[in-house]
Subunit: 255 residues, 2 copies
């Protein structure tokens, strides 16, 4: 792909994993919410994703969008996720359609399905439990943030069906750098390493699909999210596994 790729929410943890892992792979254009405290290696804009004028400018001559922007807090108040996550996503889709963007990768979240864990924990965090979510299920958000992410998926479904834009929703697990979340069984079952995160988004930008909902986790021994669609459709080949680390986050084998 030799066109510009817009990355919104470029300063967040997912954005950082992508910028660090794929810096030279794409002709990036970053959208930061605030002026970045570093010198970005690609052109960038600053502002709200719900700012129609700004977003129209951000989408000019763009071939694909990776949309991460929004209030990332698990306990974000409703008014904020309504404006930034739900309305902001709709504004960005409108601008993308207007600009002729062909591919839209949306950062959804494990919180869109957080309540599937109700009555099932902690068993489902363990390898002897075979419960799996595969991305076809009706959402069960665990919080208002999760409602906003599930709604973002539904919005994407509409824009795909209505306008033909290719949409990949990635329900991102627990992204941490270097090692899985420490002493957190749930987080280890949905760990996503930085390099797997970058690789997964690379695949989402390269692969052919229509509308997908995939889970964004590493290939952990213990997991309750299926990686089947990510592997089969996107060609995702994760390299990390939380089982290679002790419960406290230290690697089992330093070799």
């Amino acid at each position: 792909m030799d066109e510009t790729v817009l990355l919104t929410g470029a300063k967040g943890s997912v954005g950082t994993a992508i910028r660090e892992g794929l810096a030279d792979e794409y002709d990036w254009r970053y959208l930061f919410h605030n002026p970045p405290p570093f010198d970005p290696d690609h052109p960038y804009l600053v502002g709200d994703v719900s700012d129609e004028e700004l977003v129209a400018e951000a989408c000019e001559d763009v071939g694909a969008v990776v949309h991460l922007a929004g209030d990332p807090r698990r306990d974000a108040p409703w008014d904020s996720v309504l404006e930034n996550n739900i309305h902001g996503t709709k504004v960005l889709y409108d601008a993308a359609i207007e600009a002729g963007v062909e591919k839209f990768v949306f950062a959804s979240s494990n919180h869109a399905v957080g309540h599937f864990e109700t009555d099932r924990k902690p068993e489902l965090y363990r390898t002897d439990d075979d419960f799996r979510l595969d991305g076809t299920e009706f959402p069960r958000p665990g919080n208002h943030y999760g409602i906003s992410k599930a709604t973002g998926e539904v919005i994407g479904r509409y824009y795909h069906d209505e306008y033909g834009i290719d949409v990949c929703n990635i329900r991102i697990g627990n992204l941490t750098k270097g090692h899985p979340p420490k002493e957190y069984e749930r987080g280890q079952a949905m760990w996503l390493s930085y390099r797997d995160c970058a690789h997964l988004h690379d695949r989402a930008l390269q692969a052919d699909y229509d509308f997908e909902i995939v889970y964004g986790i590493s290939d952990n021994d213990r997991k309750y999210y299926s990686l089947e669609r990510a592997k089969d459709v996107l060609g995702y080949e994760p390299k990390d596994n939380s089982a290679d680390y002790h419960f406290d986050g230290t690697p089992k084998d330093d070799a």
Copy 2:
């Protein structure tokens, strides 16, 4: 049920079918968007469903809510459905939880799944096509209004999981009085008669369930929405069928 039942959007077509069909069955409290041009047979309030103070008052001593309020236009602009349908539904759920409401019946819509018809019409409107939606599917809204209705379902899923309130989402088809929509194949496949509409909402107020998504249509010969959950879980026994009418809406048998 001997407690007050709150009916929002009481002047719309669904509200009218319910008020006419179940006037004496419940201790209704109506919420109208504007002062009604008639003299209601039960107590009522007037205002916006997104008005927190009003809605808190409306939910006082209420045992169940039938929530129909919102912008009903298929081509409603985004800002309106965002405020009235999405935000308004969240505000009402909050008030219902605060007031201890036990049951919440939400008027969803065929438009939440309108894009399942893409590439399938007109075959799926016909009796020799066996395609069926059953309510477990991930939504495919046909317009912004449909996005708002699918989001209302997701919001309900959250409030059920988080607070235990029983939630029944009814994806209402094409409600018309007296006869099916005239010369409209799609509308006839998803016809909902007034008496079936009232009966279905009666069942949704009486039956035991946790979280349901059912389709609200009459027992039409030609249909692509399954009535299985409505019949099995709610005890819905529809009496009408669009096949008893000619394409122009006149009955086949006047007897």
